[in-house]
Amino acid sequence: MKMRALLPRAAAFAALLLVAAEPAFADARSTAKSQVDFGIKVAQNGLWKEAVYRWEKAAEVDPSYAAAWNNLGIGYEHEGRFEDARKAYEKAVALDPKNVLIRQNYDLFKEINDRAKRRNDR
């Protein structure tokens, strides 16, 4: 009986230990997440420069955060910074290769990027 009562507590403790083992990672991700969220909010209001700044911060704080790189790719694309956008998208795809939405954004970007290249080559 006593054992059974202790079991959930032990599980919770183990989970806490797991989280405590990577405090830096958790901190980085949550900071990056809040930057990404803010970036999304301002981008939805048309403030793309601010959004790009936030997503750059997010990617800097947590370079393994695929969403931050994806959003950064979109932001750069919106600003006409095609080379930066390509790098950001490629990073996002590498970090989360199974994410269809990232892949879709990247494909759409590539189409426009190719068109821009063709224009300049002519």
Binding site: R4, A5, L7, P8, R9, A11, A12, A15, K33, V36, D37, G39, I40, A43, Q44, A66, A67, N70, N71, I74, E77, H78, E79, G80, N99, L101, I102, Q104, N105, L108, F109, I112, R115, A116, R119, N120, R122
Partner: protein, 294 residues
């Protein structure tokens, strides 16, 4: 106690799962495509005129000048100069004639023994508002009052006139008259088309149960329409040098029974050409949507 703890753990798991699910937001974006030409050195643009040919139903020179000016007025940062349209074909024809009549360089140098028109055209064709009026017919010594240029029907006919675009002195003079703008000129060939052959069309069919299906069907059709082949030449009004050249070709075909006026076909075709033209001078924006993730 156990039940409460289990509920806590379950809700924690649920929360973790929910937050792990990707939230996404679809946003509209406008991707800017930078212009092919750097026009920052120019504040004004002169759509001077075109050497046009093809059909007589549309004055492609006049219509193109009007259309490009109105597009540039609304869709570019450049100030559009309102000026008379240059009869470039006539000027080029005169120039060619003058060149043909030029005697060997060893002959008398004063006026080169050229008819006056030749001297004028060679050194500085009268540009600007005065250009049309001052074209060959006004010259008293002009041979046989400078007849109108031959009808331009094909790309080959146009080739004869191409030299005018490389006449740096001519364009520099025009540039000086209008305070060194960016000059837009070129050639426009607007020709009627007629074709006959098999085309594939999707045809709706309904079966006995009223179910609709679309099947491709090959039909023999006679069609007619128009083709437009513009070549835009961008000239630096300060130097008379060609900065950029852009050419394309578009065509439209209708059922042979359909009677579409040439002018409306012209505008239909120019609708396809205009984005390319504007893309040379100003930033074009491509609208689309992307998905932001969190």
């Amino acid at each position: 106690m156990t039940a409460r703890s289990a509920a806590t753990i379950a809700s924690l798991v649920l929360l973790t799962f929910t937050s792990a699910c990707t939230n996404f937001f679809e946003v509209p974006i406008e991707t800017p495509l930078s212009p092919k030409m750097d026009v920052t050195a120019f504040r004004r643009v002169l759509v001077a005129g075109f050497i046009s040919g093809g059909t007589d139903d549309v004055d492609a020179n006049l219509e193109t000048v009007r259309l490009l000016r109105s597009q540039l007025r609304t869709k570019s940062g450049l100030r559009v100069i309102e000026a008379d349209v240059l009869p470039l074909a006539e000027l080029a024809a005169d120039k060619a004639k003058a060149a043909a009549a030029t005697p060997a360089p060893s002959s008398e140098t004063n006026n080169g023994g050229l008819p006056k028109v030749a001297a004028d055209v060679q050194t500085s064709a009268p540009p600007g508002p005065a250009a049309a009026a001052a074209a060959a017919p006004q010259q008293p010594n002009a041979p046989a009052a400078a007849p109108a240029p031959e009808k331009i029907r094909s790309a080959k006919d146009l080739e004869k006139y191409q030299s005018i675009f490389s006449d740096v002195a001519f364009w520099k003079k025009i540039g000086e008259e209008y305070e060194n703008p960016l000059i837009v000129t070129g050639t426009i060939l607007f020709t009627p088309l007629q074709t006959a052959g098999f085309i594939t069309r999707n045809v709706e069919q309904y079966d006995n149960l009223g179910r609709r299906t679309v099947v491709p069907q090959r039909l023999y059709m006679e069609r007619k329409g128009f083709a437009i082949a513009p070549k835009f030449i961008f000239i630096d009004g300060r130097t008379g040098a060609t900065l950029h050249t852009e050419s394309t070709r578009e065509e439209v075909l209708y059922n042979a029974q359909q009677n579409t006026p040439a002018l409306s076909s012209y505008f239909e075709l120019m609708d396809k050409v205009i984005p390319m033209f504007l893309g040379t001078l100003s930033t074009q924006k491509i609208r689309g949507t992307r998905v932001l993730l969190r």
